[in-house]
C-alpha cells in the first residue's frame, strides 16, 4: 500500500498540465508513495485554501505559495522548515546551490530556507519584432524612453495598441522598484521588522505611473484586462498589442500561441535612462511543507521534493515551462547543453541575467511584508482608479500606501511578539 499525500498548487491552464506531468513522473519513479496533485486555480486561492484547510486540519502535505504569501507562511508556524524536513528524512541537499537571488527571497535572515524554491521567474519585456520592423524601429527597447519612442512609431504605423498593460503590481511596482533600486517599504522592504511601512508613494514609482498615465491618455499604452475582454497575454499573442511586460513563465506559452513565423523577442524590463539597473526580483512560488501531517507523508514529501530538485527534473521543468532553473548546477548544465541557443528557448537566459544583474541590495532582495496579497490588491485598485477613472495619481498612490499600511499594522498586531528570523 502506497502512502498517499497531497500537493496543492496554484498554476492553471497549460502550466497546470505540466505540474501534473511532474507528479506522474514522480509516482512512476518509485513504489512507496503516491502524490495527489490538485490545482487550486491561482496563487491567491491556493494560499486562501491552504489556510482554510489548515484551520480545518485538512491541509495538504505540500503547498505552492507565491512570493507574496511568503511572510504569511513564515509567521504561521504551520509548516515544517525545508532544511529540517530533508535532514529528518535523510536527504542531503546543497542549500548553497540555489541562486542566492532566489534563495534570499524565501530564506530567513540567517539564510535558512523555509521552503523549496520551485517555479521561479522574473518579469520580462516582450515585444513583437515583426511589428517593430514594420514600424521602422531599429532598436531594442532597453529604456522607457525607447519604449515611448517605439510606441509612437508603432502607433504611427497604424498599430492600435503599441503596449498593453494591466494593473498587476508585480511588474509595474515590485519589479520596477527593484531594478530602479527603489524601496517599496521601509525596513529593507520588511526584512528587518514587522513595523515596516510602505513608501512607494514617494519613490520614482510615482513618476513611472504618471508616465504610464500620459502614455495611456495618448492611447500609446492600452489597458488590457480580463474584465475588458482580453488580458495582456492574449493581447500579445493575438498581435493586438506589440509590447507587454509579464513573467518569463509565459515564455513557453507565448512561443506556442503566436502564429508560426511571427518574430518576437524578450528583453529585460526597461529602465529609465540614466538609471543604474539593479537585479530584478524573483517571482513565482515555492513549495511549503505543512505541519500537522502524519509522519509517513513527510517521507513521501521529502522524496518528492528531492525528486524534483534532481538536475534532470529541473531541466525538464524549465524546458516545458518558461521557469528558470533554481539551482546553479541546473542552470549551468542547461547552458552547457546549449539549451538557451535553441529557437524556442532562446532569450530565457535573459531572465537569469536580470535576476543576477547585480548583487541584491536592501531594495532588491525581496519583499517581506505580511498580508501582501491584500496590499497588491490595494495597489491594483489604485491603478485601476488612475487608469480607468482618471483619478489623481499621487492621491491614489497615497491612498494605496495608507491602506496597505493598515494591513501591515494589523498584521503586526496579530503577530505581536513574534520576531522575524
Amino acid at each position: 500500500e502506497k502512502t498517499k499525500f497531497e500537493f496543492w498548487y496554484g498554476l492553471s491552464g497549460d502550466l497546470s498540465e505540466r505540474v501534473q506531468d511532474a507528479c506522474k513522473k514522480f509516482n512512476e519513479s518509485q513504489a512507496d508513495y503516491e502524490i495527489v496533485c490538485t490545482s487550486q486555480n491561482g496563487y491567491d486561492t491556493t494560499l486562501q485554501n491552504t489556510i482554510a484547510a489548515y484551520r480545518a486540519k485538512k491541509q495538504p502535505a505540500i503547498t505552492q505559495i507565491y512570493d507574496a504569501g511568503t511572510l504569511d507562511l513564515m509567521l504561521s508556524g504551520a509548516f515544517v522548515p525545508a532544511r529540517k524536513l530533508m535532514a529528518d528524512n535523510g536527504y542531503t541537499i546543497d542549500w548553497n546551490n540555489y541562486f542566492s537571488g532566489i534563495a534570499n527571497y524565501y530564506a530567513t535572515s540567517t539564510g535558512e530556507l523555509n521552503s523549496f524554491p520551485f517555479n521561479s521567474s522574473t518579469a520580462m519585456f516582450y515585444y513583437n519584432a515583426d511589428a517593430f520592423q514594420k514600424a521602422g524601429i531599429d532598436f531594442k527597447p532597453d529604456t522607457w524612453e525607447q519604449v515611448e519612442e517605439a510606441a509612437r512609431k508603432l502607433k504611427a504605423a497604424g498599430y492600435e495598441c503599441p503596449l498593453g498593460f494591466n494593473f498587476d503590481p508585480w511588474p509595474m511596482l515590485e519589479q520596477f522598484s527593484a531594478i530602479h533600486n527603489q524601496p517599496i517599504a521601509t525596513k529593507a522592504n520588511g526584512y528587518e521588522g514587522l513595523d515596516a511601512e510602505l513608501v512607494f508613494n514617494k519613490t520614482k514609482f510615482v513618476d513611472h505611473v504618471k508616465f504610464f498615465k500620459k502614455m495611456a491618455d495618448e492611447k500609446l499604452f492600452v489597458v488590457k484586462t480580463k474584465q475588458l475582454g482580453m488580458d495582456i497575454l492574449p493581447s500579445f499573442t493575438s498581435q493586438t498589442c506589440q509590447m507587454i511586460q509579464t513573467s518569463i513563465a509565459d515564455h513557453g506559452t507565448i512561443g506556442k500561441t503566436l502564429p508560426e513565423g511571427v518574430k518576437w523577442d524578450v528583453a529585460m524590463l526597461p529602465v529609465w535612462k540614466s538609471t543604474e539597473r539593479q537585479n530584478s526580483l524573483v517571482g513565482g512560488a515555492s513549495l511549503w511543507v505543512m505541519a500537522g501531517r502524519p509522519e509517513a507523508e513527510y517521507k513521501g514529501a521529502a522524496a518528492f521534493l528531492n525528486y524534483i530538485a534532481t538536475p534532470e527534473m529541473a531541466e525538464w521543468w524549465s524546458t516545458v515551462t518558461g521557469y528558470i532553473p533554481v539551482t546553479k548546477t541546473g542552470f549551468d548544465a542547461m547552458k552547457a547543453g546549449g539549451f538557451y541557443d535553441k529557437a524556442p528557448y532562446k532569450g530565457r537566459e535573459r531572465a537569469i541575467e536580470s535576476l543576477a544583474y547585480t548583487p541584491t541590495s536592501q531594495n532588491t532582495r525581496g519583499i517581506r511584508l505580511g498580508g501582501f496579497t491584500q496590499i497588491r490588491k490595494e495597489v491594483s485598485t489604485s491603478l485601476e482608479a488612475i487608469f480607468m477613472q482618471n483619478a489623481d495619481v499621487q492621491a491614489e498612490l497615497d491612498q494605496a500606501v495608507e491602506r496597505g499600511n493598515t494591513v501591515l499594522r494589523r498584521f503586526e498586531k496579530t503577530y505581536a511578539g513574534q520576531k522575524l528570523n
Partner: protein, 296 residues
C-alpha cells in the same frame, strides 16, 4: 399563531424537532458565536492564540472609506434591485392579470429566470451585455464608451442590478399575480360600475390592494439584495467587485476580506454590522410600513 388542537406529549416534539434544531445549533448558532468572538479579537489567519482587541475591529471597519463605499453600493444594489424587480413584476402581473388570450403562456415563461443561478446568469449577461460583442457592441460603435462596465463602476453596478432584477422579476411577478388574483373580482367590477377604466382600476384599486404583497416583497427582496446568495454569486462572477470597488457589495466585501485579505476579524465585525443592519431594516419596515398596509 397557536393551534387549538394539540397533542400533549413532551418528548415527541423534541424528538421530531431534534435533527433540525441540532443542525441549526451546529451550523447556525455556533458559527454565530464564532463570528462574535472573532469580531473582538485579532484572529491570526492560520489560527492560534488570538488577542482580545475590544472594538478595534469595528473602529477599523468604520474608519475604512471602502467599507462605507460597500455600504453605499449595497444600499443602491438592494434598493434599485428591489425597485426594479417589483416594478417589472408589477407591470407584468397587471398585464397578465387581464387574462387576455395567451397570457397563460407568458405567465409560464416569466418565472423561468428564477431557476437560474446568479453566477450562471452573470456569465450569460457578461456576454449579452459585453461592450465589445453582443448587443452593446453596436451601440458602442456609435457612441464609444457608452456602455463599459469594465471601466465605469456605475455601468458595472447597473450590470449586476440588471442581472439581479432579471433573475428575481419573475419571482415578484408570481407573488403579485397571486396577490392580484386574490383581489376579489367584485372589487374591480364595482370600480368598473363606478366608471373606472382598466388603468384607473389598476391604480385606484388593484395596486393599493396589493399593499401587503408589496410589503412582503419589499422585505424579501431587500434582504435578498443585501445578503442573498445570488447577490454574492452575481457580483463575484460578473465583476468581482470592480471596477475600483464599484460593485463591491457588503457580502462580497466580507467574503473577500476574510478569505482573500485573511482578515477574519475584520470580516466578522462587518458581518455583525450587516446583521444589525438587516435587523434594523426589517424593524423599520415592519414598524413603519406594515402599519399602513393591512386592511383586514
Amino acid at each position: 399563531m397557536d393551534k387549538r388542537a394539540v397533542f400533549k406529549s413532551w418528548w415527541l416534539p423534541i424528538l421530531f424537532a431534534l435533527p433540525q434544531i441540532a443542525l441549526i445549533l451546529l451550523f447556525f448558532y455556533w458559527p454565530a458565536v464564532a463570528v462574535m468572538r472573532w469580531a473582538f479579537t485579532l484572529e491570526p489567519p492560520f489560527g492560534g492564540a488570538a488577542e482580545f482587541v475590544g472594538w478595534a475591529n469595528f473602529q477599523d471597519v468604520f474608519a475604512d472609506p471602502f467599507y462605507w463605499n460597500s455600504v453605499g453600493v449595497s444600499l443602491i444594489f438592494a434598493f434599485c434591485g428591489t425597485a426594479s424587480t417589483i416594478v417589472v413584476g408589477l407591470v407584468l402581473a397587471l398585464a397578465v392579470d387581464r387574462q387576455l388570450p395567451g397570457s397563460g403562456l407568458f405567465r409560464f415563461l416569466y418565472i423561468l429566470p428564477y431557476a437560474i443561478a446568479g453566477p450562471a446568469a452573470g456569465m450569460a449577461f457578461r456576454f449579452i451585455l459585453s461592450p465589445e460583442r453582443g448587443l452593446m457592441a453596436s451601440v458602442n460603435a456609435v457612441f464609444p464608451d457608452f456602455w463599459n462596465p469594465a471601466k465605469y463602476g456605475s455601468h458595472a453596478l447597473v450590470l449586476v442590478i440588471v442581472i439581479f432584477a432579471w433573475k428575481w422579476a419573475g419571482y415578484t411577478f408570481i407573488f403579485l399575480l397571486a396577490g392580484l388574483q386574490s383581489v376579489p373580482r367584485a372589487l374591480t367590477e364595482a370600480a368598473a360600475m363606478d366608471g373606472a377604466g382598466p388603468i384607473r382600476r389598476a391604480v385606484d384599486i388593484q395596486i393599493p390592494m396589493l399593499a401587503p404583497t408589496l410589503f412582503f416583497l419589499l422585505v424579501i427582496m431587500m434582504t435578498e439584495g443585501f445578503v442573498g446568495a445570488d447577490t454574492f454569486g452575481i457580483v463575484h462572477h460578473t465583476t468581482g467587485g470592480g471596477p475600483n470597488h464599484g460593485t463591491e457589495v457588503m457580502v462580497f466585501r466580507i467574503v473577500d476580506e476574510a478569505f482573500k485579505g485573511l482578515n477574519y476579524s475584520g470580516a466578522s465585525a462587518q458581518s455583525i454590522v450587516l446583521i444589525g443592519l438587516i435587523m434594523v431594516f426589517t424593524f423599520i419596515q415592519f414598524r413603519f410600513i406594515e402599519k399602513r398596509v393591512h386592511y383586514k
